[in-house]
Amino acid sequence: MLTAEEIQEIETEAEHYPKREAVCIDALRIVQRHRGWVSDENVRDIAEHLRMSVTDVDSVATFYNLIFRKPVGRHVVMICDSVSCWIMGYDRVRTHLRERLGIDYGQTTSDNRFTMLPIVCLGCCDHAPAMMVDRDLHSDLTPQKIDAAIEKYR
């Protein structure tokens, strides 16, 4: 079941479009903001609310990188694996995080604190290598900076 708050947020966004289905991606984002990820049940609920087919909503949900269709930890660490970061030491960043957190891409730490994912260019190439944790950008990464950044997220 979608909560009253989610429904209200979806309806506010829906006013921006002439067709109801158009709010589908916003709806997925809204549900994910509240729940951390989008479950099959959420997909069904969104489909019902927007009077769309479940398959259509699911095909949209699986297309987009920032919609998570599996549970994630409390914080999502996304490491930029695009070209400027690759030149500036992406491999070292990934290795450091892998060792530090004991997980690799697509995995979640056993305390459910972090999930690690790759992401494409974060538009921060002049301060590469870069990563995002939740909504925060971290740049000019060194092992020290990575450790300090990770400490902030409990």
Binding site: H16, Y17, P18, K19, E21, A22, V23, C24, I25, D26, L28, R29, S59, V60, F63, Y64, N65, L66, I67, M78, D81, S82, V83, S84, W86, I87, M88, I119, V120, C121, L122, G123, C124, C125, D126, H127, A128, M132, R135, D136, L137
Partner: protein, 429 residues
């Protein structure tokens, strides 16, 4: 009006990185362009003419003439209603970091530009299509849009002119292909972002089937200044026939990676050596991609080429987004090419076979080469693939864009590729 007009796009930005809010923007002469247009009865056609005369070309990658694009929008009584303006703020091209700055630091410049552009094409509704990872830009744009609505600069009957415009911010679900203008239209309609085949082109059949113009953030940010200071002034900012200034950036192993607003037509060598400070000590220059991942490598002999649309075309590359990625002599060109092709293979929308299948194949070949399993004949296979990605073979420009770095790498760094195959290893590891 005061100010140094050499850098119209960035002159108001604060060194501490904080945002220019509505008050500060207006103090610096902001919202005068839209006032001039709406209060003195400038016609939409006159705005389009001014922009055409300024020779403004799209800053999103393709360099299409902005005024010309606007002139394709049908007008008059029988035109389907509404007309849309979309600001393309997807910025996912690897190596590109210019639109983020414009949105984070001076969001009202973009909003005013969108208002003028929307008026010119007689649009009723405008969207800013922003990539979801740009969280600071999202917060600051949302705040700036709210400020503009509070002042009645957006909404009904703006400046009592009878013109009304709604402006909405849409946050993307994230996928490179959303940046392609027709992929973007599908994404904004709530669908998978598969590009549409053209024609029809968006100015006649676009968002929800209605006339639509899609323009890049930097393109739109230029517009208020063209209206304020005139087409001739804008043209004069550039060093070559392409008008205006441009945000040029450098990333990679240089002394001072960064972003600068410079005259259009500044040479690559000047940007690299004077602004970015040259290569880091102990490293030598090998090549660069002038404007993001989907442009052809430039090598030393062409470094004196002007960064402008036609000069770059003459040396077999493209302006793209104008943010260069530098390859040094301690970084493996094969590894870099693999990274680029990995990106394109991953981001293919999966619709055209030469694109999704060919890119995966090429990626596997490059990977095996890097891992020491390259085979004689691999280079021919790669060259064959890039021919399959030529313009016209696929629905959108993603595959042709992928061919550019691969083709040019095979040309300029052939020895390095051959050495990987011959020595069964990556010499840089």
């Amino acid at each position: 009006m005061t100010g140094n007009y050499d850098k119209p796009l960035t002159e108001r930005m604060r060194p501490d990185g904080s945002v220019v809010d509505l008050q500060a923007y207006e103090r610096a002469g902001g919202y005068q362009a839209i006032r001039k247009v709406l209060r003195t009865g400038v016609t939409p056609t006159a705005v389009i003419e001014e922009v055409q005369n300024s020779n403004l070309r799209g800053r999103g990658g393709a360099g299409f003439r902005t005024g010309l694009k606007w002139s394709f929008v049908p007008r008059g009584k029988n035109v389907p209603d509404p007309t849309y303006l979309i600001v393309n703020a997807d910025e996912m091209e690897p190596g590109t970091f210019k639109d983020r700055l414009l949105m984070e630091r001076d969001p009202h410049q973009l909003i005013e530009g969108a208002m003028v552009a929307a008026f010119a094409i007689e649009a009723d509704i405008a969207y800013i299509f922003l990539r979801g990872e740009y969280t600071l830009a999202a917060d600051r744009l949302a705040r700036a849009i709210a400020e503009a609505y509070e002042r009645h600069y957006l909404g009904k009957n703006i400046f009592a002119s009878g013109y009304s415009l709604e402006l909405y911010l849409h946050l993307s679900g994230g996928r490179y292909i959303c940046g392609d203008e027709t992929g973007l239209l599908n994404a904004l309609e709530g669908k998978r972002a598969n590009p549409r085949s053209k024609p029809p082109f968006p100015p006649s059949v676009g968002l929800f089937g209605k006339p639509t113009v899609v323009n890049n953030v930097e393109t739109i940010s230029c517009v208020p200044h063209i209206i304020n200071r005139g087409a001739r002034w804008f043209l004069g900012l550039g060093r070559t026939q392409d008008g205006g200034t441009k945000l040029f950036g450098v990333s990679g192993k240089v002394k001072r990676p960064g972003l600068w607003e410079l005259p259009m037509g500044t040479t690559m060598r000047e940007i690299l050596e004077e602004h970015a400070g040259g290569m880091l000590d102990g490293l030598n220059f090998r090549g660069l991609l002038p404007g993001g991942a989907s442009t052809d490598f430039i090598v030393e002999k062409d470094l004196d080429t002007a960064m402008d649309f036609s000069a770059l075309a003459k040396v077999g590359s493209r302006m793209g987004t104008g943010t260069m990625i530098v390859l040094d002599d301690r970084t493996c060109p094969v590894g870099m090419t693999w990274n680029l092709i990995h990106f394109f293979a991953q981001e293919s929308c999966g619709f055209c076979t030469p694109c999704w299948s060919g890119l995966q194949w090429a990626e596997r070949i490059l990977k095996s080469m890097e891992e020491g399993h390259g085979q004689p004949g691999d280079l021919d296979k790669l060259a064959f693939q890039t021919k399959m990605w030529a313009p016209g073979h696929t629905v959108c420009a993603l595959a042709p864009g992928a061919a550019e770095p691969l083709d040019s790498a095979l040309k300029h760094f052939r020895d390095d590729f051959e050495r990987h195959i011959r020595e069964h290893r990556c010499p840089w590891r």
